[in-house]
Symmetry: C2
Subunit: 444 residues, 2 copies
């Protein structure tokens, strides 16, 4: 029934622009990091949820249109529904909250680590398919919740083995109070977008844009000095209180930040956080604390973990007010950064701890039983399956980064012993019991 | 800039037909099962890979058209490329192998647990978005590889806590040899499709269809008796040898099956496998052993784990011959089945092991430090964040299935002690140290 000539045509195996395969060595490491993060979030009582990859376009785009529209993958499905691939994990979470609020207890603490898709032009460390790692606390507006998200960011970076980073924190409410005090709050959207570009376009350009927006050199100057640290080492609370004075002795948001800082100090992690008044986050839904995270050695790489407090997450879908605070780690960008830094966090990605080589094909059943014994001790054990020369078997182990090899010929089989070889150092233990071999591997 | 009236419109929060959210209690359990399976596959030296969710339609559909076409989600992206969501994990794996064969060592053993999408009509336990769990060994055609996949199926079911199942095994090569012996091999595609429907349409209907196909009542009878067990308890090797005789004393495939059975016997798991000659797997790419898995208590639920050996997986994309053997667990169907069976495997899905309640808001910093201490012992600990009555706090713990609650008032704070309550039994330990509280929770 199938045309024979077409049948034999070879299709070029390729992936779409901005998409990629992940080979085992990297996927093993990515999974290890994700597992660590999941265990970590769970230790704080956070729970995982799952939402569909595909949703109604209207549900994802909400008010619709704008810049997001061009960046998302959307189409009509076979049932003529307008559908789209999710472009972040926040919008589906808001929809989820609105749908399931009666089944959930507030405060609701969730994490979600999964892929999202954006049609933007691929750049270094940026792809059209990438993994986000979001964690949020919804249904509570206080300093403890703000603090807990910061503490989780801090411990997450520690457990990923990343030490050269800066958490840059600011408060959007305090910034807004300052704009009100300057009597430019009606221009706040444009001012925020401009300030958000500071790292990209520099102070002078920002100042001239602000002058255009506010029609006042004085106000532009004041905004620029508000968002500029007087020196890199200005203590957190000094910055806070200076800004508070510039905003006309603002009280409410200043006290919230003091309380958050107190909790950070109680947990002895306050030194990991800098008050950086240039952080505003361009998006207009933030209302409280905001933060971005930069890798000290790759300052131009952009933020690898950002977020903040929002007043009303699910307002598109429900009249219920749901305040929240959350953060999002750009996992693929972070991994790309770690690769670029040749970080020791990224280990060998070995496929197994030990491999049983095939010296004698008639002993295959025995090799399998050795492997079963090794696995019960918690070690990962591969068994070589082909009848190949030892050189090829060693090559296989090397390509899979397997550190130990085990052999057993007919004499050793008769003596119930094995030979263990460290494939890196070539150190060899002959005629030892399988139990001793296991101990030697575990000791490594 | 945004129209105010439109801005306030509430969008109905809903998901697409055949798609669904997963709430925390189920997602916790699903993740626990996936983590167990991943650790398990890794213990055999299998490695994870990742491939894009979206691929060129031509790459996924290959020879194109046919039944698959209507069932897949496909569209033109913004760059006018014909793209589609993957409908299984096997086709992307074949494409992956063809692209990366020079970066991989053969035999290549991979697992892939992720979502796939099909536009078919949703039914009980069947969705348009669902999770497959595939594991394959590529680059080796021998009994050891066949056996290892079967052994992994067996141990996977054991570790998922599922005991009431039957692995039904047969050999497609032996069946084909029988069809040749009957001189109907040119009708094999239609015969296979018919035999594959046996469970659905019954023996009589199958017989009458086979008679149409072969134009011979005698041949139809012979095929039906080939695919029928003489009794449920016929020993594995007896069935094999009976079928071998019916196929004209077939040797090659019979010996392969004997060898596989020998390995299963060496591992003492041979009793978990039944030779069921009605299993042929409709798809024409299988060439060797084939298998399906049925839950004893839900026989009409269909197979929850199926697969087999194929000669040439990546032939669409490369001229390199890549024989393989693999299996696929339908994880969402299996979970739906376990839910229907109210299986004890699905536990409470608790969000934490213990919660620190908020008796006195001024002690929040202390509550957080108690939680940090508890977490260092490996327990999951939540801290209640709102100023609410104890009744509401207990309700929160109950909705999150948290088994233990910890309180600490100002007197206990002064005495450096806590009160621990088992929230199920109401058993209460007052004025104990945090270390004792941790021991009591861990002992549970």
């Amino acid at each position: 029934m199938i045309d024979e000539t077409q049948d034999k045509r070879i299709i070029e195996p390729k992936v779409l622009k901005g998409f990629r395969d992940t080979l085992p060595a990297m996927e093993i490491q990515k999974k290890a990091i994700i597992n660590k993060l999941e265990t970590h979030f769970s230790s704080y009582g956070f729970v995982p949820i799952d939402t569909p990859v595909l949703e109604y376009t209207e549900v994802l785009l909400g008010k619709g249109g704008g810049e997001t529209d061009k960046q998302i993958f959307h189409f009509k499905d076979n049932g003529e529904r307008e559908v789209a691939l999710r472009f972040d994990l926040t919008v589906p979470f808001a929809r989820f909250l609105a749908m399931h609020q009666n089944e959930l207890a507030l405060p609701f603490k969730r994490f979600h680590i999964d892929k999202v898709w954006r049609g933007e032009n691929p750049q270094k460390g940026r792809f059209r398919e990438f993994t986000q790692c979001d964690f949020d606390i919804v249904g509570v507006d206080n300093a403890q919740a703000d603090y807990e998200i910061l503490a989780m960011m801090d411990s997450s970076f520690a457990l990923m083995g990343i030490s050269d980073y800066r958490f840059c924190v600011a408060h959007r409410g305090l910034f807004n109070a300052f704009l009100s005090y300057l009597e430019v709050e009606n221009k706040s959207v444009d001012i925020l977008r401009t300030v958000d570009k500071l790292r990209k376009i520099g102070t002078d350009e920002v100042k001239s844009l602000l002058q255009e927006i506010t029609s006042s050199e004085e106000k532009a100057d004041k905004i620029v000095s508000f968002i500029t640290k007087i020196d890199e080492n200005e203590p957190f609370l000094d910055t806070l209180h200076r800004l508070s004075r510039l905003a006309g002795d603002e009280q409410e948001h200043t006290q919230r930040m003091e309380q958050i800082y107190q909790y950070l100090s109680d947990a002895k992690i306050q030194d990991h956080f800098t008050y950086d008044p240039s952080i505003t986050r361009g998006l207009d839904y933030y209302t409280g604390i905001v933060y971005e995270t930069f890798l000290t050695e790759l300052p131009n790489f952009g933020s690898v973990c950002s977020g903040g407090r929002y007043n009303d997450l699910a307002s598109l879908y429900t009249k219920e007010k749901l305040p929240g605070v959350g953060s999002s780690i750009g996992l693929d960008r972070l991994l790309a950064a770690l690769e670029e830094l040749k970080s020791p966090v990224l280990k060998s990605g070995s496929s197994a701890d030990v491999i049983v080589f095939c010296l004698d094909p008639t002993l295959r059943g025995w090799y399998d039983s050795l492997a079963r014994t090794i696995r019960t001790s918690g070690l990962r054990c591969d068994v070589y399956m082909l009848d190949k020369k030892m050189g090829i078997q060693f090559k296989y182990a090397e390509m899979n980064h397997i550190p130990f090899g085990l052999t057993c010929g007919s004499e050793e089989f008769a003596a119930n012993s094995v030979t263990l070889k460290n494939l890196l150092t070539r150190e060899t233990h002959r005629n030892i019991s399988i139990e001793d071999a296991i101990s030697l591997i575990q000791r490594k």
